[in-house]
């Protein structure tokens, strides 16, 4: 199959005081050059512009080969070597990419809208139409550098792009927003943070997989082999026939021993992962989706060798392949809806690609880049990393992350001698030649990727920092440096493990910087209900329901049976992803303490499939001035909750209050709590145990009368969920309800109640109902700041669909939070 010269990209990557860089994937080896100009520019040829302006600077790089037809480069302009390059802060700049000095974005057709009659060379007729990267014909893609002041800083963030979810991809709205503000540097996002789950390796449309398997093979240009068992012979070429869609579950669960829920279409080979990234970011990589024959593959005699390792869905239909295909719920017809959803995803890719080309983009992995639950618990680690298929999936997924996402975050790190440079060299070696792949032993790559048992000094580093003129951003790696406890542990991991200090140095900031921004894929702060109650409860209920029958059953204790059950059934934590920050309270407090050494911190996160804003005020000792931590969550760009559940939250304000939780406050001591409960009064055992722990973290409510505290707690905090306080029904704000003629007069209340009952009925019948705190629909977040009389106020706008299934966005959620220290009193135990 033909391929276009530029497979994917350009994606604008790191832009700071030292480098200005772009990521690009080509089908052949080339020298790639990036040139940057001040202001907006129209291209007039390879590396020249209509205005005749000289480029501010340029940089070159040679692509590296990761497959016969997969050559990737991160090109950086070194802003520090002579002659110095001046990128004015907060100003608009344009760039062009030159390939071997001759081809450019213009000559490759990337600066105009593609039409049926004028397709880009090598692009499949089934691919969606590419859109002009500069928004007008021949205009170069542009970007705005980080602003010189905090009030002028503009950021965007998004996470979780699932191919087979319903509705529009919010990345398209980000593109709409940039387009609407393309000449307004003051509005355009200067940094885009993709906070994880850019691809769903485990959960993708069935029709997409055959396309990816074939595209992957074309990219590698040779046979890739995938192990399905521990024996060397148990290895097969990665083709649609050998590894068909809908039949991969058995490999995933029984051979690779992953705990992923969605397994039928899990990506396996590096080629597939690479192909998935290409189609997520580029219209030009698309081809025809899988047809019926490639979605329902009859194994037949030719595949008898691999058949024992594959799922046999037909076994549920009387071992009849035809009956499976004809089944209304699992057959051909049933996949139509899903395929339509994949097609909608595909059709927004040109916009997503353009947004990535027009804003400096930073990325970090979460679990779905590799597989759901990746590195979840000690048990998961000991299980998966001891299996060849498990190791192969993790290696391929993590390697693809490194090449497609990680590299551009910190190009200098990958250029300098060290583990990150070794990562690129090893990846080149693994896919050198014409197959079969991998072409070399992968032991060193596994060390670089930090497989269990690797010394820290041999691992590549995936967390990074970006310094802006007045802010510093720290992007956390919450996946590969976890402390998961013992090999049999199912406890919630410490997400940063021992690396907390290296990932986040102690504050405050120096050099006149005023704001710390921290990216953590899982939200550090979440609505209390989810983190502390719903997830653990669901996990515990699952475990209990598995085990309760045994508890009530009479009969002798048989160790073997009990144990089998244990291993089989105590999987609640895996089923419910019990890996949030809140689920390891001690580690979360360590993080709070670290963050509180900065006066104000903004956290950006994804992961949870809803958007919200929370504030945490943290008082240390008797200090009256708390640190302020503001959590902004935007998730997912194309993922969310099922409508039937989400609508219940909109229909009941009681649920909405429950979501936010009561005002959550904690007082804490480093040693045992200095709380004195009067003798003879009872407190719950859980509470008593909390008092004895170190640190002792206690609620302020629910203490018996007469309870006192000795001295000042070592620290205290208060968590608040931010509400949208807009009124008036304009620009996405919730509409005002009709006013009442009069309030309730207690002595003659009937008229008042009559009025409110009518108003309630009228509102229910005529007005849409919106949530003021949480957004469950697909969304992308915009973060802006403004000077509010000496202090800074942050605005978090979540763009979501104007109506169900609409393709235009509205600012249906707008949250504001001050970055100034709260003037509230710190939490205290109420004296009763």
């Amino acid at each position: 199959m033909p391929l276009p010269l530029i497979l994917a990209g350009p994606i604008l990557r790191r832009v700071d005081a030292e480098v200005c860089s772009v990521w690009i994937a080509l089908k052949r080896a080339a020298t790639v050059e990036m040139r940057v100009w001040a202001g907006t520019q129209l291209s007039s040829g390879a590396g020249t512009v209509v205005s005749g302006d000289a480029a501010l600077g340029s940089g070159q790089a040679q692509t590296r080969r990761f497959g016969a037809n997969l050559h990737i480069a991160v090109v950086s302009i070194d802003l520090k070597t002579a002659p110095p390059v001046a990128l004015a802060p907060g100003a608009l700049h344009s760039y062009d990419v030159l390939i071997d000095g001759a081809a450019s974005l213009r000559s490759e057709g990337l600066l105009r809208d593609e039409t049926e009659n004028l397709r880009i060379d090598g692009v499949d007729p089934k691919a969606p139409m590419h859109l002009a990267l500069g928004y007008d014909t021949d205009r170069l893609p542009s970007f705005v550098t980080p602003a010189a002041t905090i009030p002028a800083l503009r950021m965007a963030h998004a996470s979780c792009r699932r191919t087979n979810f319903h509705g529009y991809d919010a990345m398209g709205w980000l593109d709409d927003f940039i387009k609407a503000n393309k000449t307004t540097p003051a509005e355009r996002p200067q940094q885009l943070f993709l906070t994880g789950d850019q691809i769903y390796a485990d959960d993708l449309g069935t029709a997409l997989l055959p396309m990816l398997t074939r595209l992957g093979a074309d990219l590698l240009g040779g046979e890739e082999r995938f192990p399905v068992g521990e024996a060397v012979a148990e290895e097969f070429p990665l083709t649609v026939d050998k590894f068909p869609p809908q039949r991969r579950g058995k490999i995933i669960h029984e051979q690779a021993r992953l705990s992923t829920t969605e397994t039928r279409n899990h990506l396996l080979g590096f080629g597939e992962f690479a192909a998935m990234y290409c189609v997520a970011w580029s219209s030009r990589a698309w081809r025809a989706l899988g047809d019926e024959a490639s979605m329902f593959v009859d194994l037949g005699a030719a595949n008898a060798d691999i058949a024992p390792f594959l799922s046999q869905p037909e076994s549920e239909f009387g071992n009849s392949f035809a009956a499976w295909k004809a089944d209304a719920k699992h057959g051909v017809v049933a996949l139509k809806d899903e395929t339509a959803r994949v097609e909608l995803y595909r059709d927004v890719v040109p916009k997503a690609a353009r947004a990535l080309a027009n804003c400096s983009t930073y990325m970090i992995w979460d679990d779905h880049e590799v597989t759901d639950d990746w590195n979840l618990t000690g048990r998961w680690l000991s299980r998966v990393y001891s299996k060849r298929p498990g190791k192969a999936i993790v290696r391929n997924g993590a390697m693809a992350y490194g090449l497609f996402q990680g590299w551009g975050n910190d190009p200098k790190l990958f250029a300098a001698d060290g583990n990150n440079k070794d990562f690129l060299d090893e990846a080149v070696a693994l896919y050198a030649g014409n197959g079969p792949f991998p072409a070399a032993a992968s032991a060193r790559m596994e060390e670089i990727l930090g497989f269990p048992g690797t010394a820290a000094a041999k691992r590549a580093k995936w967390h990074y920092r970006i310094d802006g003129p007045r802010h510093r951003t720290i992007v956390l790696d919450t996946r590969s440096l976890r402390d998961t406890g013992s090999a049999v542990s199912t406890r919630s991991p410490k997400l940063l493990g021992d690396s907390l200090d290296t990932q986040i140095p102690n504050g405050p900031l120096s050099d006149g910087r005023e704001l710390l921004v921290v990216i953590s894929a899982p939200p550090v702060l979440g609505p209390n209900l989810f983190d502390k109650v719903m997830q653990p409860l669901a996990a515990a209920v699952k475990d209990t329901s598995n085990a309760i029958s045994n508890l009530l059953k009479d009969g002798p204790y048989v160790a073997k049976q009990e144990l089998r059950r244990a291993l089989k059934y105590t999987d609640g934590a895996e089923a419910f992803d019990f890996e949030s920050w809140a689920s390891n309270e001690e580690h979360q407090e360590q993080l709070f303490k670290k963050l509180a050494s900065y006066s104000s911190v903004v956290l950006l996160s994804g992961d949870v499939h809803f958007g919200c804003t929370l504030t945490l005020d943290y008082w240390k000792g008797s200090s009256a001035t708390p640190a302020r931590i503001v959590q902004l969550t935007s998730s997912g760009a194309r993922n969310g909750w099922e409508m039937y559940l989400e609508s219940q939250f909109r229909k009941s304000t009681a649920f909405q209050d429950l979501l936010g939780g009561v005002l959550v406050e904690r007082v804490a001591w480093n040693g045992a709590a200095k709380v004195n409960v009067p003798a003879g009064l009872h407190i719950g055992p859980g509470r008593r145990a909390r008092m004895k722990r170190s640190p002792a973290l206690l609620p302020v409510i629910g203490w018996p009368a007469g309870t006192t505290v000795t001295g000042t707690p070592d620290w205290r905090w208060r968590l608040k969920l931010v509400r949208d306080t807009r009124t008036g029904g304009v620009n996405g704000a919730p509409p005002d309800p009709p006013p009442l003629a009069s309030d309730i007069i207690p002595s003659a209340s009937f008229a008042g109640y009559l009025g409110l009952a009518k108003r309630h009925a009228l509102t229910t019948m005529t007005q849409p109902r919106l949530l003021r705190s949480l957004m469950f629909l697909s969304n992308v977040g915009l973060v802006s700041f403004r000077d509010a009389g000496g202090s800074i106020t942050l605005t978090h706008r979540l763009l979501s669909a104007t109506a169900m299934d609409a393709q235009s966005y509205g600012v249906n959620t707008l949250h504001e939070a001050s970055l100034a220290p709260a003037t509230d009193n710190p939490p205290i135990l109420p004296t009763m």
């Binding site: 001040a38 907006t40 000289a54």
Partner: protein
Amino acid sequence: MANEPNIFEKIVAWFKEASDWVQHNLGDPEIASALRQDLGLKEGAELSPAEKVKFANLKDGLDPNKIAFDATIAELAEAIQGFIQLGETLRDPVSGDVAWDIAYLLGNVALADTLRLRFPAIYALGKLTLIVSEDPAALEQFDPALLMKILRGEAPQDASAKLFERVSNGLSLIPTILDLLLQKFEKEGFVDYFYGWDPLPASPTPRADLASARALTMLVGPGQGFPRAAVTMVGVPQTDGGPGMILSLGGDFKQKFTSPADGLEADFQVGAAGALTLYIPFGDAAGDLRADGSPDVFFKLGVSKVGKDHKPAFTIGEAKESRLEFGKIGGGVEFAKDRAAVLLNIEDAALVVTPGKADSFLKKILSDDIRVGFNLRMKLDSASGLTFEGGTGLAVTVPIEKTIAGALTVHHITMGLGPSSRPQQDLALEASGAFGLKLGPFQASVDRLGFTLDMAFREGNLGFMDATLGFKPPNGIGLLLDASVIKGGGYLYIDPAKGEYAGVLELKIDLPAVKIGIKAIGVLTTRMPDGSDGWALLLLIYGQFPPIQLSWGFTLTGLGGMIGLQHGINVDALIAGMSTGVLDDILFPANPVADAPRIINRLRTVFPVTPRALVLGPMLEIGWGTPQIISIRMGVLLQLDNALGQGDQPISFSRVVILGQVLAQLPPGVKADLTVLKLLVDFVGAIEVNPFRISFVARLRDSYAGKKPLKVDFGGMLVVQAVFGDRPSFVIAAGGFHPDFRDIPPGLPSPIDRLFAAFPISVLQVRIEAYFAVTPASIQAGAKVSLKAGFDWISLEATLGFDAICYLVPSFRFDVKIYGSAALKFKGHNIAGVAFEFRLEGPGQWRARGFGKFSILFWDVEVPFDESWGESVQVEQQSTNAQALVAAELGRAGNWTAQMPIGVDPLVNIARIDAGDLLLAHPLGTLTFTQNAVPFDLDLQKIGANRIEGATRFSITEGYIGTPAAAQPATTLQQHFAIGEYRNLSDSDKLSNPSFQALTAGARFGSTAYRAGPAAVDQDFEYETLYLEPEAESDFPFARIRNRERLVATLGLDKVGKAARQGAAAKSALRGDARLKPAASTPISVGDARLATARTDTLQASGIVLDRVAAHAPALAKDAVLRSGTNTSVQIVEQFELA
């Protein structure tokens, strides 16, 4: 079945079994077999030798991949801790609720993962128990029992609003469950409901909103095209005349018509709320049944037209000409009981200008169609008037890309119309553009430069309207110079809101004869830090050129300078910044353009805006050797205060600062990895006038000698500081201070890096650290050698060192500590180790103490010792008469000053009189006496090294002018005294307390009391009630967000007066009680918190009373506690901390 154990007995039995199992660890072959399965090792399959090792390790209790040996141990320890706690609980008869406690502890024990493998049931139950009993904010307070009681017909005890809320919350689950069930059966929309209320932030009807929060409306019906019934239910609590319930019935009908052929859509809805409303009382006392039948009828109709096949619905004009397009156009009407509205909605509309037939000017500047897209939503409402909703606003960007006169390129022009961002203005029109300017080799680009016109539709400067024209400055201007011989770039950035402008420029002149690099950084501030108008400018310019030979092999390679108008030098910030390399950014920065944001931020901190100050000074760069081996960069900066502008203070010299960097590198001019010697020293020296301070800090950093594998890193800091004035001190510290020394004078960098050398010997990492310091009372020195050898997880660490401190006054005394340790570690955890410490104090009273320690895994053996002998040596002392000293100080004219009356009309102005040596005082003013010789209100034990003769305590209590009869109480004044000069302090106090403490130094006489001026102005009170967040409620989850109202109320002074006279406080019998009134009006002053002594166990007052001096001096307070002999149970706290 008498012998059948019950569930609790079963749990206990399992529990016992579990404990046995923990003791036997993982020896159970069944466990091994199951784990083998979990590891994927097939039953009966032959194992590879590597797997066998894994397996053996596993069986022995180690993890297969040695992942977390320590975590497994910790888990077991935790489980054992649970056992211990359980035992304690069982022994404690007073704690009550033992069953719950046991359940909890069992849960905890069960949560050990090692137990999970063996007892899944216990594990799962344990987890559930913990969640239910541990999270205090949630489930513990969930009370479903109440609802059950009511459903069973048991009458509630009280019919309060809260009870109604709880019941309503419970009942609201019914439609939720119904809705979810029906959705499961694909009956979406059959039941719709809304429970609760989302009040407006400033609702005028808070009570009704509160009641609405427990209102439930259910809509029942098949959906589109069928009528739906609406049932609303609200409970009426006793406080509102209940208990009872409002039941209101209504309904609506919805229909949608579409005509795909015409692209027409119509929505229609008609309905009524409250067709019948009943109040149903619960019981006889709750009033009568009432009914109402006055429905609120509403009607809504919307019609819209959508274009087909991506074509607009309507087009005004020809399809290929300039035209107005409407993608979708819609309109509607709404009627309700007391309002009517008309809506207009235009989406995907565009004004398209095609240059084809336009005039020649447009043709000239336009190459393509211009398309102005907009959305418009308009509503005319009888209640709120005409409102617009601006979707994307009205903005057009016209791409031009034309160059005028070969110099000015207009990239595009933007015209925008939208709501104004200025207060009290309605509409803003913005015209701006992006430009590029090219003059020969010089090129500049400007974003968004233009004008804004803000308009208000009311009478104003234009008669019928108010308009303000404003300049729209660009955010930044990029500059580029690219002539063949001169190349460079830079930019200006502009923040008009903050009044900050900064720019940076770097040029390289490259002629065959001359190669010069010029760098410049400028920061202009047009607003002072306090927000007032003013300006300040900071400019740094550097020129670097080929070496110019000076004498003795020195060459001049660069010249520069700095001028700061209205800027000062913050020496502390400069010294503190040394550790982050601030000098790199001040002295000939390498990349000023790329690093501009950081450099500018640093310059703002180090050279803060200081009104009327002037900073200036030259900088030079000197090299030595050919090729250059040593390079020196230096600057001398001088700060003059009050040098600029008008002011009443005379010009004064403030400080002089010398900063520099010395870099020696061998061989010169090679890459970093080829260098064998690099020494880099930063230094800052400063002489400051007020307070007088001389300081010098040098820091050796990033320095090394040799190459890998034998490369020695060096570093460390030297600090010299002399401060005179209020808290005089003198310090020399090379590498820092003794670890226990706390009295570090302010203004020193923190931390002071130890002098160190670090180098590897094969796998061994060696680090040697040292320090030496001299302070007014001590000499300190110390050194430490650390060795570390590491292999993957196992490491060996050893340390040997000493810390010594000698006190020179009052008598020579030393304290030396020698310590050492060695440890074998596995993944950072101790496996085995030895440690010792030996500490000797003397001479005179000798004390030797220390310990030796040996540890392996969890076992420690420690042998401590502490021996004292000898007697304290009495130093031969001379004596001083303190009284005579005080008398001499009182007689010294320089100790007396007079102050003008403060805050009150002096009544007269006094002409300047030359009074010679006499001190003149204003009759209403005050007279002050202070001295530094002897602190008052303190029991003196010595003065310096001398004994005291005669009186040892002095106080000033009153003063008079004229006769003693006119005596007035004196207000004491404090200054800092070196407490060690007057009191005998213990060594630990010397170390841990500040050397200088505030003690009484004199007193002020005269009245500062004065009467208030003219009568006060009357002003009504205004107050606002605003609850932004839900209150913490103890009855979660039934808590409702209440009182979200926002109300501004005015309270007239007459009402306030009346209320005050009528209020309970005014009528209180206590009001007449003279005891409540202060004896005299006392001015409020704020001082350091008063100290008190407290019992360590209860924090209640200990009974040891501190005198007024000790109450402010920690050392004296501690002394008082020591003297009382109860020091172990008493601690010093600030008085407000007392329990």
